[in-house]
Symmetry: D2
Subunit: 258 residues, 4 copies
């Protein structure tokens, strides 16, 4: 069964900026979905911030295996309840791939527990991504490095937790470096941050970027759902696996929950 | 200069439950502070949820090196703005030690990016904490294992991110295990979760628990403040370290921030 | 294409100890291969220490995707050259699953860089393995915990490096705990240590243990070979990606290599 | 009590190459020790490969808290027994800082469990080290980045295990990046790899490099010795913490050890 992937696009600059519209006439989300569709194992749908419930209804999330998130201009406009909903799906096992300026999205900051800051420069300079972890599934089939002739620079420190694994590190023409491919697990959900993708450059028309995204979807996919991660159940004393006798002081009630 | 440590107590059960009051007549926070004060390198103050701004004013946080957090009954009653304030101090370098039922506190869940769920049983059963990382600073001077004759059980899965290091794992009489000492870094702040400490048992009168807490304060202490982690500055093109020429499309404005 | 899996058995106790022979009349390796063969995606072969080159010739390793290693009585009898050969295949991408007393095998200690010590007791006591990472591929389809009524006890500290992820933690009847499922990557090779499997108990006839092993083979499999990890090539100055001019002092020769 | 630090120098190029001798007339080890001695908390001694037992006798190791290792030309000439001896001291708690070409030393490869390969170029190009983990003790007091105008290039992939934490990442003029400050724990011993230090450049006369090394010594120091990590003791059944009765089959003997 193919991996049901939902590409979420903020879809603002495509409608307000001629440069962006010129590069992505159908929206950045459509270009990303095109890259994914080259993998017969992936079925890619798109949605945008402007749709009801930002396009991520409970029902749509329930049939999404991997969510891809690109946002930049209006992170603050994403409803907190929707962010909480997405987080719960990730904890229960949905994969999440956060792209470029999505580092400042509410969902990414919520899952990291950090501000996810960095320093930046929009100069169309050269970025070269080095594979530092060639055996990682996300690096499958890639060359030792690949270049994007025009990209926005992101510089360290990138205030995110130490990742499970670092897959890519970027070299920038202006003198900076950046850890540009990082993996995490949050609950049962796999999370991948991938740096490139500034809206004024044709990054999502790049074949190698496409390979990375397809690899990431396959890596992030989890065939199981783990709703139990959202609960904190009591185990009654008389149901203890090894027989025990209740002792000591006790509170009358003991509330737990998500 | 000693490590300025602030012990935050929820301070509810001490005033509403006779068992808890009997064990901690001056409050759990006072007992914890007593344990810390046995280290000449630590100066421990206490505060409680009932004080103005829950006792964690900007001014008090600014002169706190390490914050210890015990809460249980009213996590929801902690103001979101205070939680955000504490998080910013952690990101900038303040140490944070979260105790027992604090796993469900807003500040811990915010820093973890996960629900921090588990399963539990209040039966006063035996807990045995094994040191799995004897070279870790938090295990300094400890025996191979230590026991708490009466404790609440917490069982896995504990839905937190994979830690930097696991220091303790607990054995429970009723048949469960739990990763009961976990380290994290969030921004420049060191975070330690330590499991024991149910309010109806005398855990914070235990000498070995005291040693763990003193070790944890010394480990979590960071002498430097890193306010810059809270910002996402632009690096102008003409200030690039290596000379570059601006190229490609550009957005007019590009907002960043915490 | 199925995953070509080679089960390596030390095959000594099966021939010298009646208890072991009674449980594993065709050898432990055969029982393990039987468990693997329940997965249509796995083709399992076996070999033993007594075969020429301990059964792991260059040729056989070259067509092995995942190697499973069980040894106990004669770790020292395994030829160092064979250990080096296996390590090279792991670094280039072969998966390796080390079982039980294999923690003291030369290959495991070599890949860990630590003594991999622990404390132990052979009393046929109950072991209960808890899944602490339910979203991990190795935990797929498993219950929250599973029991082995008779097992050897291994106790912490287990002197191995902090793993990428901890999948299982064991509870023992006699009062100990153990991190019993740990993942690592070494070069391009995935490594999984799985604790159970003492030769005098029927552990490799257990259905849940079989599920863990099948999951582990699927997880450890890497479809790519990365021989380049075994080399340390020079990049000549005139082949630098960004044009540079040679400067400063220089050594005449500069040897590198594995 | 100050941290007793031993700087180990291979001390070959200083005696055979005029460029190296010109920069380090008393040897690289002496220059490194000079940098360390600026910290009143460190007492730095030096030794070289040419001394009896390569200068690392049992007795000298026993009174060493942190060992710093620089080697390049003759890794193969270091006696295996000495390497094993150093590894045991690290496992028991001695800190180890491996510099530059020491990535290919026997002791580093042994502790990593990987070939520690990379690609390289000797062109005296500019290296810029970025602090990616500003709250880490090894980054204390450092600027956001620092430069070495002439250094050898090391390029990724660096085949080492995923570190506990990445502290520095280097930018190279010729287009490469490298994870140039990595932390590990092996047994009770803290291990830090620091990239810069090619012998034909004055890297160990650089003030910021000195600050990094002093920070690293303070970080790596472990006041406790953990000889027990070198053993794998049996816990007799009648000494089990929780009373158990021996059951099931049993081997007659059960050898364990380092």
């Amino acid at each position: 069964m193919p991996i049901r992937t939902l590409v979420w696009g903020e879809n603002i600059h495509e409608n307000t900026n001629d440069v962006v519209r010129g590069i992505y006439p159908r929206g950045m989300h459509a270009a990303i979905a095109d890259l994914l569709s080259q993998d017969a194992n992936i079925v890619a749908e798109t949605t945008t911030m402007q749709e009801p419930e930002h396009g991520v209804t409970e029902e749509k999330l329930a049939r999404t295996d991997v969510l891809i998130w690109w946002g930049h201009k209006d992170h603050g406009g994403v409803d907190d309840a929707i962010v909480e909903r997405v987080a719960k799906r990730v904890w229960a096992g949905m994969g999440l791939i956060v792209l470029h300026s999505g580092h400042h999205s509410k969902i990414f900051k919520k899952l990291m527990g950090t501000p996810a800051n960095l320093h930046w420069r929009e100069a169309g300079e050269r970025e070269r991504l080095w594979v530092v972890n060639p055996g990682h599934p996300i690096a499958k089939g890639l060359p030792r490095y690949f270049e994007l002739e025009n990209e926005e620079m992101y510089g360290e420190p990138f205030s995110v937790p130490e990742p499970l694994e670092t897959v890519f590190v970027s070299w920038f023409q202006g003198g900076e470096i950046f850890r540009s491919g990082l993996t995490y697990r949050r609950g049962a959900g796999n999370v991948f941050y991938f740096r490139p993708g500034h809206e004024t450059y044709p990054t999502y028309h790049d074949a190698t970027v496409g390979q990375v995204l397809r690899n990431a979807v396959n890596w992030a996919y989890n065939s199981e759902s783990h709703q139990e991660i959202l609960t904190a159940p009591n185990t009654p004393v008389d149901k203890a696996i090894e027989a025990i006798v209740e002792r000591g002081g006790k509170l009358t009630s003991h509330p737990k929950g998500v």
